[in-house]
């Protein structure tokens, strides 16, 4: 009989821990690592971006049906459509309204818009790494404000002449000799830890 109270106490503790465990975030219980998480996000982003470029801009733009006019100032022209990089950013901005579990941006060491140059030390390191090591991704952690982030940087490769000619010919571009297959910049995905 003396053992009864400790046994009941242990049972209660076990029940509480079980209930608590059930309430944990699904990704924690599923064991997805931050790298798997960001790699998966990048796969979706990259596929969407390639599809927009090929299925919309190339098919319906001036070199296709001529139904839309992809342009930097798309809001200001009739039938204007976003450039692929702008579409990518629009997606990022829309996501930021839905969730704060991750953020992403398209950056470059040679940006047309200077605000898209790497800002944080890790962004600079990551952009340099993917440029110096074609085909490889960069992963790290950084503290911004009061929050620590898992930050992944993926290479953004020139896949069509539209990418290279637009950047090479733009008056605000600091680099004018991009070739197909070059790393033009990087996709930075950030997850708060």
């Amino acid at each position: 009989m003396k053992m009864k109270k400790p046994v009941v106490f242990a049972a209660v503790i076990t029940s509480v821990l079980s209930v608590t465990a059930c309430k944990e975030e699904p990704q924690a219980s599923a064991g997805i690592s931050p790298q798997q998480y960001t790699d998966s996000l990048f796969a979706v982003m990259n596929a969407d971006r390639a599809n927009y470029t090929k299925l919309i801009v190339q098919r319906l733009g001036p070199k296709g049906a001529g139904a839309i006019k992809p342009d930097e100032h798309w809001k200001d022209i009739e039938n204007g459509a976003l450039l692929p990089a702008q579409m990518f950013r629009a997606g990022s901005e829309a996501v930021s309204k839905i969730t704060d579990k991750f953020t992403y941006s398209l950056q470059s060491t040679w940006p047309i818009n200077k605000q898209n140059a790497p800002k944080t030390a890790l962004e600079k390191e990551g952009l340099k790494f993917i440029s110096d090591n074609p085909g490889k991704n960069f992963y790290g952690e950084e503290k911004l404000g009061d929050v620590t982030y898992y930050t992944a940087v993926y290479p953004d490769v020139a896949v069509s002449p539209a990418c290279t000619s637009c950047h090479n010919d733009h008056k605000d571009s600091p680099k004018d000799d991009f070739k197909i297959g070059d790393v033009m910049g990087g996709v930075v995905i950030r997850v708060p830890l």
């Binding site: 930021s96 941006s105 605000q115 944080t120 911004l144």
Partner: protein
């Protein structure tokens, strides 16, 4: 002695708590809670506290929601150059420590009228520096420019750059200063939409016509008569009972677009909140002595039985406004165009009145029907004044002349009598850069 001190403290504290508690939760007049006068943009509704302060403990997020509720549409229309969404990425954390650009109140702090600059700005005017300090290294043309000149010299605006961005300057740099006098399109919003909203048949109210023959005569030659809007069109309730003095509720039956614009501007924003209309006496702008007792309503500018839009487009404005720009109108080139049109020496659609620039006509899509309406929000294109360039100035003038003219305060004051005294070099710089 101690008991007396504590007793006095308790009584004073209880009285103060009761007074402010009553003021906060019960009293109609909440002036005692004002922490400072509101800016020129909000003073009309400063006593409608809950319009902005929707939650007692909502903090900055709650205030931001209130800003967005009223201003989101115009910012979207302006292709806002610095929307909140540009700053939410954590990579901007270090910049946000200086100016938290995610929130309107970081730059437009209310109830600090004594340190509020034009456009409601409460930051020092060189705020661009914090993010764009390297611009001089990127562009030779910008070397040695001071950062308080970015948004005050006719080159840039924080939100609205539709008439100022580089490619637009390049596309529109070649016209002569007067291109042509544009023909103003006839507004047709109300006449197109009226039939959808006025119930038929309406009571004839024949006895009213007999009682008021003069009014009936005025009405006979009005736009309301042309549109078959009889006495009952305005003077009847939904139950078809006679209304002696119709108000804005009746006007907006057909003029819903115009009322929406009117209530978004300073003239009508109080009426949107069911408050008494603003009176010139309550404003800090210069107004004519005899107008100080007047109060805003549709009828302030529109005599309802004559529906004389010529009166509404000039005399109504000049009946109240007493600033240099308004007083100089009659003798100005624009005023002369209007006077010549009134005298029959010019087609009526070539006249330039106050309303031509401050309440321009615009095409709108109303549930699939395209209509031309007069934008009754006279603040819509007023600040920053470059908002006026594309929809108004460039209908007749070149982009370069428009930029120069709107950056010349003296020229604005004399209502554009003469030429701009200084040239804004932004177009020249854009051309030079495109040629290099």
């Amino acid at each position: 002695m101690k008991k007396l001190i504590w007793g006095t403290w308790l009584i004073v504290t209880t009285c103060l708590a009761s007074y402010y508690g009553y003021t906060l939760f019960k009293a109609d007049n909440k002036e005692a809670l004002l922490i400072g006068d509101a800016s020129h943009g909000h003073f009309q509704i400063e006593m409608a506290c809950t319009v902005c302060h929707t939650s007692a403990f909502g903090g900055t997020e709650s205030l931001q929601e209130s800003c967005v509720n009223c201003h989101a549409e115009e910012l979207e229309e302006a292709h806002d150059s610095h929307p909140q969404k540009k700053f939410t990425d954590p990579r901007n954390a270090s910049q946000l420590e200086t100016i938290d650009a995610r929130y309107c109140v970081s730059c437009h702090t209310e109830h600090q009228k004594e340190q509020t600059n034009p456009m409601g700005l409460t930051l020092p005017k060189d705020y661009c520096f914090h993010c764009h300090q390297d611009i001089g290294e990127e562009r030779d043309s910008h070397k040695n420019l001071t950062f308080d000149s970015c948004a005050s010299a006719g080159c840039h605006n924080y939100h609205d750059n539709r008439a100022l961005y580089e490619d637009f300057l390049l596309e529109n740099h070649q016209d002569s200063w007067v291109k042509q006098v544009a023909k103003i399109t006839e507004a047709n919003a109300a006449s197109t939409l009226a039939a959808q909203f006025i119930p038929t048949p309406l009571p004839p109210f024949a006895e009213k016509k007999e009682e008021h023959p003069d009014i009936h005569k005025d009405w006979s030659s009005s736009a309301h008569a042309s549109g078959n809007v009889d006495c009952a069109g305005c003077h009847s309730t939904d139950q078809l009972q006679w209304i002696e003095k119709p108000g804005i509720e009746q006007c907006q039956t057909c003029h819903m677009n115009e009322v929406e614009g009117y209530q978004a501007g300073k003239h009508g924003m109080r009426l949107a909140l069911n408050m008494a209309g603003i009176s010139p006496a309550e404003s800090s702008l210069p107004f004519k002595e005899q107008s100080l007792v007047l109060q805003q309503s549709c009828n302030s500018c529109h005599e309802p039985h004559t529906s004389n839009t010529q009166f509404a487009s000039k005399e109504a404005c000049l009946g109240c406004h007493n600033d240099q720009h308004s007083l100089a109108f009659e003798a100005s080139p624009h005023g002369q165009l209007l006077n010549n049109a009134i005298a029959g020496r010019l087609p009526a659609n070539e006249a330039v009145s106050c309303a031509t620039c401050h309440m321009p006509r615009q095409e709108k899509n109303h549930h699939g029907t395209k209509v031309i309406e007069v934008n009754h929000n006279q603040n819509h294109n007023l600040r920053p004044n470059e908002k006026m360039i594309r929809p108004v100035c460039m209908q007749c003038h070149s982009l370069g002349f428009s930029i120069d003219a709107l950056a010349d305060e003296q020229l604005i004051n004399n209502n554009f009598t003469g030429k701009p005294s200084a040239h804004i070099p932004s177009i020249d710089w854009a051309i030079r850069r495109s040629e290099n």
